[in-house]
């Protein structure tokens, strides 16, 4: 049941995208998202789609796996599209009762849908191909200049990696606690909202206690190994740009230029 969440999950395989420096993936994903808002004609979207297809092919992540994560945001997507479809003023094409679908609305809804799907696919490729630890390492390095203005960059990224590391552990624990309580006749699935909220107490109390206990143990283990924050800390695997990282930057830059030329200047 709880295993089905794939958004933000890592997919283990060996591909060129997996090997890229996390900084490259973070920056280029941001650039890709920006590009989606630069282009506003369909040729631009085709280019973005081709770029995504290339990325998926290179990442060797099964397409099925990427779209499984999409299910959870399907409703959000539907609502956004429907609102745009019905509430945009303009030239009416179909009228059902009080609802009017306008030409402008239709175009806007399709555009929104494409943008959202591309945006989520693009960012899931990043999370699917990068381990959470790598991701926070990349973020830490990217945020490094902020140290000058006394932002605790290392601490922030350490907190993030711990939080990410604990998500699967706590999910698994939730599953176990749920089973233990169901075995004692607990019912999480039926009854009124109040009743269901109350039924969560036997789940949440053991979960919180175990989370605090784990946090305590972890703090102890870190202290026992003399952890003292980021000052003067070196890394076992420092992030160093390789040739392939520069190539990736170049490819994405080329893509952005293409988007601007086709999306903005030519048409």
């Amino acid at each position: 049941m709880l295993r089905d969440i794939t958004l933000g999950q890592y997919y283990q395989t060996d591909s060129i995208i997996h090997k890229l420096d996390p900084r490259v993936k973070i920056v280029t994903t941001l650039m890709f998202i920006v590009s989606l808002f630069i282009v506003d004609n369909f040729i631009g979207y085709i280019i973005a789609a081709l770029f995504l297809i290339m990325e998926i092919k290179l990442s060797k992540v099964p397409v099925k796996f990427i779209f499984k994560g999409m299910k959870s945001i399907f409703f959000l997507l539907m609502i956004t599209m429907l609102f745009n479809l019905f509430l945009t003023p303009g030239e009416a094409i179909i009228q059902i009762w009080k609802l009017t679908i306008t030409r402008e609305g239709l175009i806007l809804a399709i555009r929104m849908g494409i943008r959202l799907i591309f945006l989520i696919t693009g960012s899931s490729i990043m999370t699917l191909t990068t381990t959470p630890n790598n991701l926070t390492d990349g973020l830490e390095k990217l945020m490094n200049p902020l140290k000058k203005v006394h932002v605790p960059v290392h601490e922030i990224s350490m907190m993030m990696s711990i939080a990410l590391r604990f998500i699967p552990i706590l999910l698994e624990e939730t599953d176990k606690i749920m089973k233990a309580q169901i075995a004692r006749g607990a019912d999480f699935e039926s009854g009124s909202i109040m009743k269901r909220a109350k039924a969560l107490v036997p789940l949440l109390v053991p979960l919180f206690i175990s989370a605090f206990r784990r946090a305590n143990d972890l703090a102890m283990a870190m202290e026992a190994r003399c952890y003292r924050g980021g000052d003067g800390r070196t890394k076992m695997k420092p992030l160093i740009y390789q040739k392939r990282d520069y190539i990736a930057y170049a490819v994405v830059l080329l893509y952005i230029v293409l988007c601007i030329v086709i999306g903005r200047i030519l048409l």
Binding site: F65, K176, A183, G185, A186, D187, P202, V205
Partner: protein, 282 residues
């Protein structure tokens, strides 16, 4: 016949790249009143197997029957089944949540929809049965020692008056004294209440002295299912899968190999002593 497992297969993460079989073609019959030890290495599928017995996990294929009825039938009352087949999980921390032990033990019977008086009576009986000292009844379960917590967790399940009691690694993390106490407690529950007990463990030593039948699991399959002494006769094969027979078996095997006329099927220290003395007194 209480529980029958018929060609059970279970696959984790089916239809993904990570799919792997946790159980393959399990056929077992668990008759009423038996005291069974379910042994296997970590990852052998024993925990998955016991979750099939009370319907927490649905088999990928195959059927589970409780008293002749298919438990995965949509009409089957699973809540009733879970009261009849009580499952105590490995860590008591996963189920204790109330402010005091007594209230926690009340949780199970309360879920059965019994009235308050009956609930409290059952909770009291259960706590007495597991031998929790009276002064702990109204203490927070989180302040208790590991062994006492486990007693409260077991009481929480017994209070539902199950006919089958399954315990997943009830001795994990306990010291030798605590371990013996819990095992003695389980034996007395089996004897006094006349219920079926399935004791899951990875240690032969733990179960050898207590159970009347041993099921050995390996890689999702049943490897042996027999009387303890017959299972231990395969001690060489058990070693190959990372398990071991009790130390007594090794002693008897070595004595026999050294030419001393003893039979090698003793499973407890008591039996071994009688056997050795028999030869000694001749």
């Amino acid at each position: 016949m209480a529980i029958i497992l018929d060609h059970i297969n279970y696959i984790y993460d089916a239809d993904t790249a990570m799919a792997h079989a946790a159980l393959s073609d399990i056929n077992l019959a668990i008759p009423d009143g038996q005291f069974i030890g379910l042994i296997g290495h970590t990852g052998s599928g024993k925990s998955t197997l016991i979750q099939h017995l009370n319907g927490l996990v649905k088999p990928t294929s195959g059927n589970v029957y409780y008293n002749g009825k298919d438990i995965n039938d949509p009409d089957f009352n699973k809540k009733e089944l879970r009261a009849k087949v009580g499952l105590v999980f490995q860590y008591p921390e996963h189920q204790l949540f109330e402010t005091d032990c007594f209230a926690d033990v009340c949780f199970g019977p309360k879920n059965l929809g019994l009235d308050k008086k009956e609930v409290e009576l059952r909770a009291y009986e259960a706590l007495k049965m597991v031998g929790l000292p009276d002064e702990y009844f109204y203490q927070s379960p989180f302040d208790l020692s590991g062994g006492q917590k486990r007693r409260v967790a077991i009481a929480g399940v017994i209070a539902m008056k199950p006919e089958v009691l399954i315990l997943d690694e009830p001795t994990a993390g306990l010291d030798p004294k605590g371990r013996d106490e819990i095992l003695d407690l389980i034996t007395s529950l089996h004897d006094k209440m006349g219920i079926t007990v399935v004791l899951v463990s990875h240690s032969m030593e733990d179960v050898a002295n207590y159970v009347e039948r041993i099921i050995v699991m390996n890689k999702g399959k049943v490897m042996f299912d027999d009387l303890p002494k017959n299972v231990f006769a395969h001690y060489k094969e058990l070693e190959e899968v990372g398990l071991a027979a009790p130390q007594v078996t090794y002693v008897m095997q070595e004595l026999a190999a050294a030419g001393i006329p003893v039979t090698t099927d003793a499973t407890t220290i008591e039996e071994a002593r009688t056997e050795i003395l028999k030869d000694f007194n001749k």
